[in-house]
Structures are given as structure tokens and as C-alpha cells.
């Protein structure tokens, strides 16, 4: 009665073997590596790059242990941290700014294991150190920006078609376009029809058009804003040279950024946290007399204008409210020097930007144009040069009393792209690398000593049956780690706590079984009958109690954030593995040990 068919033993053995294969990568540790990945979309990862990397390392006589080449980039394994730094500097110098060279850690797992997908668990930030940000996108600002853009497009279109326009005003998300009479309005509507998608247009009497954004359009604006922001963040992170950054959308208007292993957290925060965007506006020189400026400084800004000051000398300035161009129209930027050897930023624009810029400069020769850096809702004029001639081709050089560092910073921000809307850090976690290593130690010790204590106790209290229970518990731990590694789940300190807790709770099933067996023996049943009844009676109870635990785990997963979620994942997986090991693995051991003896005198329990 206490026998398993051979296939059952083999299946259990195979599952345990898989458990071993998938959990051992966690014990190999990591080796330092340098990672080369493309920083721009034109940079290629190909054989030529591989040759370049290898020859650079050879020229610098930097020893390396292996080169891994895949579509994302090249990883070079090195022996120690000093070599890693040397290799990074040499490669960055040789490859230039079109590639990102970052320090990384690679698993020391042998290749044959990696080839079957056996990889170590991914360590969370609290275990490996790094920065975590949760950023909220200001959707209202994104909407305003889009409406500004639409207003601009309407004006340009009507100007192109030579249809006189009386004005565009805004009420919430509704635009009112004023014409001088109903006829012009109808002409205008005809001309604008193509430009105005996703907008409900209503003709009002007295020659006005009412444009209402459709819900689809509003959603599209939000989606686009968050996508653009994520792209920008990704570009900025590339500039930082982080090996495995995580940039993910969370909810409709939030972005999570995780930079594992970043040492210089202050710089990371500074670069990421910069909500700067660049806008080009025309300077309203007509209104700029002393009186108006003084009034504007007190908040009485003339309609249609904005008031800014220069970032150098605080010179006040009135600019037209409507921007000529925004950062979105900029395709590239680099720091350099102008003809007179002053620091300058060279800006390239995309086709749309180039066209608009050409047109505006043609129409406004002799006037001034302000380049404004907007940061946290506060703008500053970087420079306001006079337009000497129309600028076609979309190549602009921005100069004006800036330092080399300013030029570098501005070009980095421009190159990385502007944010479609400002973002605010609403949650931040920075964990130093030493704390991460300590957390791993603490977590592992908790699990280890807890496990040892239970094993010793079980073996004393239940003797041979206790040994089987402890072995089942070990199998449970093994399978849990294997499952977590297979799923490439992120392990956090609460996750390790959940592993420990799973160990403590999983033993319940075996205690239930063992107690039942004792009870059956006391009731005078034969050893074989007691074993069999013990397992089958305890099963219903084990199932019931695990289901209630599972319910708690699922709720934690659904409503928990960050570390709590990791805890819940481990808890739920642990319940599954414990059901398997407590019931099947321990039963298999019992059957192997007692099942073959036809006449069983007693059980060691």
C-alpha cells in the first residue's frame, strides 16, 4: 500500500534534478565586466565593432577573459575591478560618444548552464545597491503644450492659405478660432480640415470655430507624452552609462526608473531629475520699454507675451507667448566653439523644425530670438541673438556668454531630447552598494539558521520521519529558488524574508502528516495503514490551510508595491512548491524506506 510506481519516483527525481540545475547558477557569483552598447540609433553592433573592441584592449595590453557578443552589445569579462576601470576608460576613449561603455557584473555561471536558460535570480536594488525613482508626468502641462502646438499649426496654415484670422483663444481644452465673418470661417474650416484630426469642430455663429479635443485625442496626447518622456529618460540614462537600466511605465502617468549599481547617485539624480526643455520664442521688442518691463516684473505682462530674465545677468525680457520651436523639433546637438573661439552649442533640427525655423527667420530678420531653458516651470533666457539672415537647412549655432560646462550641459540635454512634459520625482530609493551586500548576508543567514534549527528539531522530535520531513523541506527550498531563477524574478530583502517564512510555514504540512501518523499508530493501526491514513487524512487539511495562505499572498501581490510585491511572489510560489515537496517528496522517501518491507514492525517516529 505504501508503494509508488517506478515512473512516479523517476518524475520526482527529474523535477528535483531540474531544481538543482536551475538553482546552482545562484552560487557561482559574479565577475566584473565592461559592457559596450550603442548610444545612438545609427551606431551598429557588428563584427567590426567586435574587432575594434578587441584591438583596443590589445593595444592597451589590458587582459580580458572573454567577449560575449549579442544584438544588444558587447560584454567583455575581466579579472578584477582595476582592470574593469582601465578597460572602460580605454574603450570609451576609442569608441567615442556613439557608444555607451558601462561597468557591469556578469554571472560566472558556466556556459552550458546558461545555454539551457539557467541564470541566477535578478537581485533587487536593496540587495545590489542603486537608485530607484518613481516619476510622475505632469499631464496638464503636456496638454497645454499640445494645445500651443495646435494653435501654432492653425496660425501657420491660415497664414499659408492667406486667410485672415482674428485670433485664437483657449478655454480649458477647447480652442476658439475667431474669423471676421462667417464666409472667412467656412474658408478657414476648409483649409484646416486636414490639419485638424481628432478634434470635434463646431461652427458657431458670428464667425467662430469651436475645437473640442476628443477623448481619443486626449488619451493620445497623454500616451505620447509619457512615451516621449520615457525615450528621453532612456537617452539620458545612456549618457550616464548604466549597465542594466529599467525604465517602465507604471499606471497612466508614471514612470519607474531603476539604475542598479550606480555609484554616483548625485549625478544620476541630477541628470534624470532635470526636467529641462528648450523653447525658442521671438522677442517682443516693440513692447520692451522701461515702463512695460517694470510693470511686467510686477506681474502685469502685456497680453500675448511672457516675461523672462536672462540666466547670465538677469536682463529682463518680453517674449511672444507662442513658441517658434520646442525641443521636440531638435534632432541633434553638440558642444563646440564658434568662429571667435567662444563655447557654442551646435543644434540640428528635423525637417519640420528646419522648415519652420527657416520661415520664421525669413520673416523676422533684424529682430531678436530668445532661446529659453525651462526647468521646473521656470524659464531662463540662455541667449537672445539678433537674426541677421534667414537660416535654412536647420543648422543653428547657439552662442552667447556661456561657459564650456554650460555648452556641454545644454547640448547633453538637447541631445537626450526634451521631456514632453515636466516630471516630478515622487518616490526615491537610493541604496549604497555596501548596504546591499550586507542585506544579502543578513537575508541568507536568516534563511540558513532558520532552516538548520527546524531540521535539527524535526530530526530529534520525529526521528526518521523527521529526517524525511527535513529532506522534503530542503527540496522545497531548492525548488523555490529554482522557480524564482527560472522566472527571473527580482529578489529583494522582503523576498528573502518570504523564503524564510515559507520554510517556517511549509513544515506545517509535514507536522500535520507526522502527527496524524502518530495518532493512527496510537489508535492501534498497523504501521503501513497508519502511514497511508496519515498522508491521506492530512491532505484535506493541508490543502485548506494552503488555500487561505494563497489568498493572502494574491491580495498582497495585487495591491502591494515594490518590495511587498516581491514578498508576495515568493510567498505564493513557496506555497506551490511546498505542496509538492511536503506531500510527494516526503511520501516518496517514506515509500522507498518503509514501503518495500512487507512486514513492518514499527515506524521511527
Amino acid at each position: 500500500m505504501n508503494r509508488y510506481p517506478r515512473w512516479k519516483y523517476i518524475t520526482i527525481l527529474l523535477i528535483l534534478l531540474l531544481g538543482v540545475v536551475y538553482s546552482i547558477p545562484n552560487f557561482f557569483g559574479e565577475v566584473p565586466a565592461v559592457q559596450v552598447s550603442p548610444a545612438t540609433s545609427v551606431a551598429q553592433v557588428d563584427q567590426a565593432l567586435l574587432t575594434r573592441v578587441e584591438s583596443t584592449l590589445k593595444d592597451g595590453s589590458i587582459p580580458y577573459d572573454g567577449v560575449i557578443f549579442d544584438s544588444n552589445g558587447i560584454k567583455v569579462r575581466v579579472r578584477d575591478n582595476d582592470t574593469q576601470l582601465k578597460a572602460k576608460d580605454a574603450l570609451q576613449a576609442s569608441l567615442g560618444s556613439s557608444y555607451t561603455v558601462a561597468l557591469n557584473l556578469l554571472s560566472a555561471t558556466p556556459n552550458w548552464l546558461q545555454s539551457v536558460g539557467a541564470l541566477p535570480m535578478y537581485l533587487g536594488l536593496d540587495l545590489r545597491g542603486g537608485v530607484h525613482f518613481l516619476m510622475q508626468v505632469d499631464m496638464k502641462a503636456a496638454l497645454n503644450k499640445q494645445l500651443d502646438r495646435q494653435t501654432n499649426d492653425i496660425r501657420n496654415k491660415l497664414r499659408d492659405e492667406k486667410i485672415p484670422l482674428a485670433g485664437v483663444s483657449r478655454d480649458g481644452t477647447t480652442l476658439i478660432v475667431k474669423f471676421k465673418d462667417a464666409d472667412t470661417r467656412d474658408q478657414g474650416l476648409e483649409a484646416l480640415r486636414k490639419t485638424l484630426r481628432d478634434v470635434t469642430v463646431t461652427s458657431l455663429d458670428d464667425g467662430r470655430l469651436q475645437l473640442v479635443q476628443t477623448p481619443v485625442a486626449l488619451k493620445a496626447i497623454q500616451d505620447q507624452a509619457i512615451q516621449q518622456n520615457m525615450l528621453t529618460l532612456r537617452n539620458r540614462v545612456n549618457e550616464l552609462g548604466v549597465a542594466e537600466p529599467v525604465i517602465q511605465q507604471q499606471g497612466p502617468d508614471r514612470v519607474v526608473v531603476q539604475l542598479p549599481g550606480v555609484q554616483d547617485t548625485a549625478k544620476a539624480k541630477d541628470i534624470l531629475g532635470r526636467t529641462a526643455s528648450l523653447e525658442i520664442h521671438l522677442v517682443d521688442d516693440e513692447h520692451m520699454d522701461g515702463q512695460t518691463l517694470a510693470a511686467a516684473a510686477r506681474g502685469l505682462v502685456p497680453p500675448g507675451d511672457d516675461y523672462y530674465t536672462s540666466n547670465r545677468d538677469g536682463e529682463p525680457m518680453l517674449v511672444k507667448k507662442l513658441s517658434v520651436l520646442t525641443g521636440e523639433d531638435i534632432s541633434g546637438a553638440s558642444a563646440g566653439y564658434d568662429q571667435s573661439n567662444q563655447p557654442a552649442v551646435h543644434v540640428n533640427m528635423d525637417t519640420r523644425g528646419a522648415r519652420i525655423f527657416g520661415q520664421v527667420t525669413r520673416d523676422n530678420v533684424g529682430k531678436r530670438m530668445a532661446i529659453i531653458l525651462i526647468e521646473k516651470g521656470h524659464g531662463e533666457v540662455i541667449t537672445a541673438p539678433v537674426i541677421r539672415e534667414p537660416i535654412n537647412g536647420g543648422q543653428v549655432q547657439i552662442t552667447g556668454r556661456m561657459s564650456v560646462k554650460d555648452a556641454n550641459d545644454i547640448s547633453l540635454l538637447l541631445r537626450a531630447g526634451a521631456l514632453a512634459a515636466p516630471m516630478e520625482i515622487i518616490e526615491e530609493r537610493t541604496i549604497g552598494p555596501s548596504l546591499g551586500a550586507e542585506n544579502i548576508d543578513k537575508g541568507v543567514h536568516s534563511v540558513l539558521w532558520g532552516f538548520v534549527a527546524i531540521t535539527v528539531f524535526m530530526m530529534i522530535y520525529y526521528r526518521r520521519m523527521g529526517l524525511f520531513s527535513a529532506a522534503a523541506l530542503g527540496a522545497n527550498l531548492l525548488l523555490l529558488v529554482a522557480m524564482l531563477s527560472m522566472l527571473q524574478a527580482t529578489l529583494t530583502l522582503p523576498g528573502i524574508a518570504a523564503i524564510a517564512l515559507t520554510v517556517g510555514m511549509a513544515i506545517d504540512a509535514n507536522v500535520l502528516i507526522n502527527e496524524r501518523i502518530r495518532e493512527e499508530l496510537r489508535a492501534g493501526h498497523s504501521p503501513h495503514a497508519a502511514l497511508s491514513a496519515g498522508y491521506s487524512r492530512a491532505f484535506a487539511t493541508i490543502l485548506d490551510s494552503n488555500v487561505t495562505n494563497f489568498i493572502a499572498g494574491m491580495a498582497l501581490f495585487a495591491y502591494g508595491t515594490g518590495p511587498v510585491r516581491g514578498f508576495a511572489v515568493v510567498l505564493c510560489l513557496g506555497i506551490l512548491t511546498s505542496m509538492f515537496s511536503a506531500i510527494l517528496v516526503s511520501r516518496a522517501l517514506v515509500n522507498l524506506s518503509y514501503g518495500r518491507q512487507r512486514k513492518l514492525a514499527g515506524i521511527s517516529i
Binding site: 537610493t430 528539531f457 487561505t548 515594490g562
Partner: protein, 313 residues
């Protein structure tokens, strides 16, 4: 080896009045402390900034505090954290100052005194995140309760579901009461511990209920109270051994897990101790008082194999 061997069933139900009274008093005390002292909520819930720093030599909170006041950070609280070399600095939310600037200011202020200060951890939580966590935590708690009740009502009977939830919410309130009384920091990990205690300690009730159901089928002549007494006595050994084992692991976390897991382990310890108490001495009397009878289970089809057992004690 065997610790527990009872010749006769212990008449738990005749002490029911006393045990539930003790429970009621603890519960009311917990509620009282929760209302008068309140929970010392962690930064995750309240919003604000926490900075942990590590000194080469032992650190003096008062000195660090003074350095911060010099840097115009007046509303911070500085404490030792775990060891004498680690300090934890807590600051409330401040309008218009980003976390990046704040941690830089703090660090440079501390470095003026001791240049070798190492930044270990910064945690900044904005106000909206904190509020969401409180809502999400409440939703999670409610969902766990409803889910468990639904399952127990389906597997047993509504009286058992109600009894188990009352017993276990009582555990949760008592954990919270302890945290309020001692003003231990209630963080997100502690919330996770509380929620897992809820799932874990229902376990205990389930094991007893399972036995009660089995007994109803087995012993046709015993009174309901006697049946419950027998069920509790029969599962007593398992209860103590299982919880003892879980507690071994929890103690291991308490000793080796460091400051982060400390309160987590504390919450679990309280949860385990009161979990045993409440599921044995609170939920079973409630089942009795709610009027559970044999008839509630006669309708249920006996599971295969369960009808053949004979009386064993």
C-alpha cells in the same frame, strides 16, 4: 520524542467565557492604544525623507542634529540605527525642495563634521504615494478577509467563516495595538507581515475546524462542546510544533535579519503567539455560540475514505 500526550480531552469550552474575556480585554486595550497613541507610520505612508548614513567611528545623534540645524534643517529627527556607527535621519515633507537637493544638503552638512560619512540609503516618498499606500493597504486587508471568508463559507459553513475572521482580525488589531503601544515603526514590510499573519493564522482555525467537521461525522453522541474539545485536544500537539517551527525561523530573522527585518519578525512573533491563542480559544467558542450543529454537516457528502475511521481517543 513526544511533548504532548493527553489522556482526556481538555474541557476548553468550559473556560470559553474566561478566555474570550481575556481576548476582549486585550483587544479593547489595543484599540485604545491605537486611538490614543496611534501608529508610528513609516515614511512610506506619511511621505517624507529618510537618510541612513554610516560613520567610521561611533556616531553621535546630537552632534549630527546640530550640524543639520546649522544647515537650516530644523525639523529632522536623528537616531542610531542598528549599530552605534549608523544614523538614521528622518525629515518630513517640505514644499519646493526636491529629495535630490535635500540629501545633498544633509550629506554635505554631515561631512563638514566627519568627512568620511558614507551615504547608505535615501528614501523619499511624495505625499500622493503615501496616501495611495494607505488605500491599497486597506483594500488588500479587506480583500484578504473577504477571500478567506468566502473560501471557508464554501468549504465549511458561514458560522466557521465568521468565527475565523473575527478571531484573526482580533490578531491583526492586537499586532497593531502592540505597534501603537511601543511606538515601533510601522513600515511597508510590517504591513506585509500583518497580511501574511492573517493568512497564516486562519490556517490554525482551519486545522481545528477540519477536526470539528470530522468529529461531527464520527461521534454521533457527543455534544457540540465535547466535539470541539476533542478537536482542539487532538490538534494541540500539531499546533504547538508547527508554530514552534515557524517561530524558529522568525527568531532567526529577528537575530540575523538586521534592522530592516526586525520589525517584520516582531509583527510575526506577536501574530503567531496570538494566532494560536485566538484560533483555539476565540474562534472555537464563537463557532459554538453561533450555534453550529451536526446537521450543518450531515448535508455535506462525506469525502471518500473518511467514513471508515473508528473512534480513536
Amino acid at each position: 520524542m513526544e511533548f504532548f500526550r493527553f489522556k482526556r480531552d481538555i474541557p476548553f469550552m468550559s473556560y470559553a467565557r474566561t478566555t474570550t474575556l481575556i481576548s476582549l480585554v486585550t483587544f479593547l486595550l489595543s484599540v485604545f492604544f491605537l486611538f490614543t497613541k496611534g501608529l508610528n507610520l513609516g515614511v512610506e505612508f506619511t511621505g517624507g525623507t529618510v537618510i541612513e548614513v554610516h560613520y567610521q567611528q561611533s556616531a553621535e545623534p546630537a552632534k549630527a542634529q546640530a550640524a543639520l540645524v546649522n544647515a537650516h534643517i530644523t525639523d529632522s529627527s536623528v537616531q542610531n540605527f542598528g549599530t552605534s556607527q549608523d544614523l538614521i535621519i528622518r525629515m518630513p515633507l517640505k514644499e519646493g525642495l526636491s529629495s535630490a537637493q535635500l540629501s545633498e544638503t544633509v550629506l554635505s552638512a554631515l561631512r563638514a563634521d566627519a568627512p568620511a560619512v558614507e551615504l547608505r540609503r535615501v528614501e523619499f516618498i511624495g505625499p500622493q504615494v503615501g496616501k495611495e499606500l494607505v488605500t491599497d493597504g486597506t483594500i488588500a486587508l479587506t480583500l484578504v478577509c473577504l477571500g478567506i471568508m468566502a473560501y471557508l463559507a464554501f468549504r465549511f459553513e458561514w458560522r466557521f467563516a465568521v468565527a475565523a475572521i473575527i478571531a484573526n482580525l482580533h490578531d491583526v488589531v492586537i499586532i497593531l495595538g502592540f505597534f501603537a503601544f511601543f511606538q515601533w515603526e510601522f513600515s511597508l514590510t510590517v504591513l506585509a507581515a500583518v497580511l501574511s499573519v492573517l493568512g497564516y493564522s486562519v490556517n490554525e482555525s482551519v486545522v481545528v475546524f477540519d477536526r470539528i467537521r470530522e468529529n461531527f461525522r464520527k461521534y454521533k453522541k457527543l455534544s457540540v462542546a465535547e466535539i470541539i474539545n476533542n478537536a482542539i485536544t487532538a490538534t494541540m500537539s500539531r499546533t504547538i510544533i508547527t508554530h514552534g517551527c515557524t517561530e524558529l525561523v522568525v527568531l532567526s530573522m529577528l537575530f540575523f535579519g538586521g534592522e530592516t527585518l526586525h520589525n517584520f519578525a516582531l509583527a510575526l512573533t506577536i501574530g503567531i503567539v496570538f494566532g494560536i491563542y485566538s484560533s483555539v480559544l476565540v474562534s472555537s467558542p464563537i463557532v459554538l455560540w453561533l450555534g453550529a450543529t451536526r446537521e450543518h454537516f450531515i448535508k455535506v457528502e462525506p469525502a471518500p475514505g473518511e467514513g471508515t475511521a473508528d473512534a480513536s481517543s
